[in-house]
């Protein structure tokens, strides 16, 4: 279902040369049109979908003067093209605007909490890989056995959990009932022990989906790769089975796994919003919910742009990882 390729654009030439740096530079350059396209989508959604944002923000009862004033403040009185142009250029230069409500720079607000969100997302990703890859391999090796069936049922269950539901269940069990973990999740960034301790439950809640997806992908990729000829040849040649599985099988399975990890980082980022609400953690999610409640329109737009940047960066990293795992990608 979801193995869609990352956004690619016609202009993406590969050119000659195969040095890693050349590869990196090309991918970086290729990311710019992607970014512009995604920003254009944001612009369309924010400026065109709701009609007049000033009206949306102020509500139906607002006086015409108030609306006109707000329109000027938001730059909505300029032509659509002028708005679009300044939106794209300032976003590309890292200027995401200021909050309508607090007047503070969005970059600053986000930078203050971004480490918490990144902690959570990266930890969940690691959790997903650490759980999903071995379980997937184990399931593939025991095809149709007890472990395999259990892995399939549990992974189906895992990816059916809305993150706020798993979060609440974990909170009830481990924080309220057994009291192993704190209810309040905001950690002191400088205190690494505290940071890690408060990360455990949210990571499990959010990483569950990731672990479920990775289990499934690893299982099917391993099954496919174990069925290939050279694996059978390696076995026939007397290479120890354990080595065949871990070295040959896994190397082949790693491409689909990396694809899925890259693809689902977006889902993790999205779901981190819910996790942060449940575990009362500071982060992008908290800011989004705050902006929603205060109708902080510029903040929402800025956040959306920041999400775009994060997604594009993740796609870039995934692509670079391909280059590391599979030298063919570079050469092609």
């Amino acid at each position: 279902m979801a193995l869609f390729p990352l956004p690619r654009f016609a202009g993406e030439g590969w050119g000659g040369g195969s040095a890693m740096t050349g590869f990196v530079i090309r991918r970086l350059l290729a990311a710019v049109p992607t970014l512009i396209a995604v920003l254009t989508l944001v612009f369309i959604i924010v400026r065109i979908v709701p009609g007049d944002p000033a009206l949306v923000i102020l509500g139906d009862q607002a006086t015409p003067e108030a609306i006109a004033a707000l329109r000027t403040r938001l730059g909505l009185d300029r032509s659509l093209w002028a708005q679009y142009f300044s939106f794209i250029t300032s976003a590309l230069m890292g200027d995401f605007g200021v909050s309508m409500v607090t007047g503070r720079s969005i970059t600053a607000e986000v930078a203050a909490v971004l480490p918490h969100t990144l902690d959570l997302t990266i930890a969940s990703m690691i959790f997903g890989v650490v759980v999903g890859v071995p379980v997937g391999i184990w399931a593939a090796l025991n095809r149709n056995g007890v472990v395999d069936v259990a892995a399939r049922v549990l992974s189906l269950l895992g990816l059916s959990f809305p993150v706020f539901v798993s979060g609440i269940f974990l909170l009830l069990a481990f924080s309220l009932h057994w009291r192993w973990f704190p209810v309040i999740g905001g950690a002191d960034l400088a205190d690494y022990g505290d940071r890690l301790h408060k990360l455990v439950l949210p990571t499990v809640a959010l990483g569950l989906i990731m672990a479920a997806y990775i289990t499934r992908v690893t299982r099917s990729a391993m099954l496919a790769s174990l069925g290939e000829d050279y694996i059978r040849t390696a076995r026939a040649k007397g290479v120890p089975w354990r080595r065949v599985v871990w070295v040959h099988g896994l190397r082949n399975a790693s491409i689909p796994i990396v694809t899925v990890v890259g693809l689902y980082v977006g889902i993790l980022l999205g779901n981190s919003v819910l996790t942060e609400i449940v575990f009362n953690r500071p982060g992008l999610g908290k800011i989004i919910v705050g902006a929603l409640n205060q109708r902080d329109y510029t903040m929402l737009q800025g956040l959306m742009v920041i999400y775009c940047f994060l997604i594009v960066v993740v796609n870039l990293i995934t692509d670079l990882l391909y280059g590391v795992i599979d030298p063919r990608v570079k050469a092609e």
């Binding site: 279902m1 979801a2 869609f4 390729p5 990352l6 956004p7 690619r8 654009f9 016609a10 992607t34 396209a37 995604v38 254009t40 989508l41 959604i45 924010v46 979908v49 709701p50 944002p53 949306v56 399939r152 049922v153 189906l156 269950l157 990816l159 059916s160 959990f161 809305p162 993150v163 706020f164 539901v165 609440i168 269940f169 909170l171 009830l172 309220l176 977006g266 889902i267 980022l269 999205g270 779901n271 919003v273 819910l274 609400i277 449940v278 989004i288 919910v289 929603l292 409640n293 929402l300 959306m304 999400y307 775009c308 997604i311 594009v312 796609n315």
Partner: protein, 292 residues
Amino acid sequence: MSTTSELVAPPAPTGWKRALGKARSNPTTAVGVVICLLIMAAAIFAPWLAPYDPAEQDIFNRLQPPSAEFWLGTDQFGRDILSRLMWGGQISLTVSLGAIFAAAIIGGAIGLVSGYIGGKFDLFVMQVMDVLLSFPSLILGLIVVALLGPELVNLVVAIALTAVAPFARVARAPTMALKERAFVEAGRALGFSHTRVLFRHILPNILSEVMVMGTLWLATAVRVEASLSFIGLGVKPPTATWGGMTRDGFENILDAPWLAVFPGIAILLLVLGLNMVGDGLRDATDPKLRNE
């Protein structure tokens, strides 16, 4: 006239029917179907089955734990959780089915036309779809609902928007394969219009793939709807929604944990049931798995 050769092969079921047949023999799918049907029945017949009025407040029975009288307990206004869950199921199902239906029609049409026309147009359309796809659906849905306002129709629009791109992709691939087949050219040679070829000949052939995709995405739609309601962007109170009920329960989690647990379980069950059905259907229609 030359000889009459007799008809050989017996009629064999094709596509969707075969998928259903294969899926039925799979225990996971069967369980999924049962779960989905039970939840749907409870939601559809809520007006007759629900023990209480979902909106009726009863201050003497606030925050009651589960009991013989209130099977799943009551909330902070004394409303019966079970009744609210049954009614709330209607919202979940309406929004998700509406959104997936809309996404399937719009996305399917985009993929169909784009794949059929091909060339630069197709390249452009698919790049737009890729951009749409690269956005986390929850964030996209959240912003769109925030901009449009939390109403049922807007939820449908927002969730549909997040699912359009996958449907476009799923419709496009088989369209591109089918348009190369001789029967499409035969239709053109017979004087059929492009519209006729596209909708009478190509569309029926891709329908089963789009429908399997629909079941798979229904699960996602239910999850996104519940998540948006949990954030506070669902259909407005006092209408019961599962996500909204979980949120209300979460605020009382120290006093009455069941308030959050039961709606959470309801969402989980529906998503799980839909995933089970979708998984079975996909395995049954996936040509790669067919020979297993």
